[in-house]
């Protein structure tokens, strides 16, 4: 019998959102970050980041909060649910890598073996 691969959360399983979740989960519990600082850490365009934050917010993984008057600042934070989902996602990835794992690749019709693009300075 072929074992079933562990399920990978589709909300997180996109490289851009995976990086957003990795960044937010690295901050301490309850810590918030401004939209512009998050953008700087991710090196993403504002439009791109807004799109991905909307998806993560809709899933309940991220909270956004506007503060201030005319020149308001948007603060972003990971929710406990988001942290838990991210931990599960990482656990599923680790499961895929264990010797008992049955697949060595995340199945996807669009898989073309390209390496992820990291921005480590």
């Amino acid at each position: 019998m072929i074992p079933t691969p562990p399920e990978l959360d589709p909300v997180i399983h996109a490289q851009a959102r995976l990086r957003v979740m990795a960044t937010l989960s690295t901050l301490g519990p309850g810590d918030q970050i401004t939209f512009s600082r998050l953008q700087e850490l991710l090196d993403m365009t504002p439009g791109n980041l807004i799109t991905h934050l909307r998806k993560l917010t809709a899933a309940g993984y991220v909270n956004t909060e506007k503060r201030g008057g005319r020149t308001s600042t948007t603060f972003v934070e990971i929710t406990p649910r988001g942290r838990s989902a991210f931990d599960h996602y990482l656990a599923a990835l680790h499961d895929l890598l264990t010797p008992s794992g049955h697949v060595d690749r995340v199945s996807s019709p669009a898989h073309d073996g390209r390496a992820p693009h990291t921005k480590e300075p």
């Binding site: 995976l18 909060e65 921005k119």
Partner: protein, 225 residues
């Protein structure tokens, strides 16, 4: 705190298709790389923190040693003036580094970091003023000089160990123990020997810590390259 509302989810399968998901190894590497980048950019750089105080202690106490010799290489007042100038510059450099690390962040980590950061200049100023007061009460200059050098070393040790407990850092705890021992041991010497010990064994150790931090970071960068 309000969660943004009214955001419609688009077709999730489309996201997965368009994201070109690579192997789990590469996804984990992506996560780890981003976590490391976030940690590096949102915490004070140990190369700057250790390096700045390493230079101040090493050069500052070396100048005090040279100015305190029986046949001084420079006037002691000039050495003291440069030392105080270096302390001011050191605080400014560290302040800028703290602002760089914490800007755009809000929450416990930033608050603890700022409070802990403020503890240093307040504590050092208080200890130094106590020694000045002791001098005003008639404490002889050699004794005041010894206390002026060693009490900040002991306080540095205590603050490093307290910070190590807050942020679970063995390196800082080890450094804190070293400074507590160094401050205590050098109190059994007299200036300018006290200053020479603090320069070489205090500033020198901080410079080594900065060098080790720099090597670790460049080693990681090479490992990712």
């Amino acid at each position: 705190m309000s969660q943004s509302q009214g955001v419609a989810m688009t077709d999730r399968s489309q996201d997965v298709v368009s994201s070109d998901p690579p192997s789990p190894e590469l996804l984990l590497a992506l996560v780890e790389g981003q976590q490391r980048r976030t940690e590096h950019l949102t915490t004070p750089d140990p190369r700057v923190m250790y390096g700045t105080w390493g230079v101040v202690w090493f050069a500052g106490h070396l100048l005090l040693f040279l100015g305190g010799l029986a046949d001084p290489l420079l006037p002691l007042s000039a050495a003291l003036a440069v030392f105080f100038g270096m302390l001011v510059v050191g605080n400014a450099v560290v302040g800028v580094e703290l602002v760089r690390a914490f800007h755009g962040l809000r929450g416990d980590s930033r608050r603890f970091g700022i409070l802990y950061g403020l503890t240093w200049p307040i504590g050092m100023t208080a200890v130094s003023l106590v020694v000045v007061a002791a001098g005003a009460h008639g404490l002889p200059d050699p004794l005041a000089g010894m206390l002026f050098a060693t009490l900040p070393a002991v306080l540095t040790g205590v603050l490093l160990m307290a910070g190590a407990a807050l942020w679970d850092s063995r390196v800082d705890f080890g450094l804190g123990c070293w400074f507590a021992v160094l401050g205590t041991a050098s109190a059994f010497t007299s200036p300018p020997t006290t200053n020479l010990l603090l320069s070489l064994l205090g500033g020198g150790v901080l410079l080594v810590a900065a060098l080790v931090a720099a090597l670790r970071r460049s080693g990681r960068a090479r490992g990712e390259g």
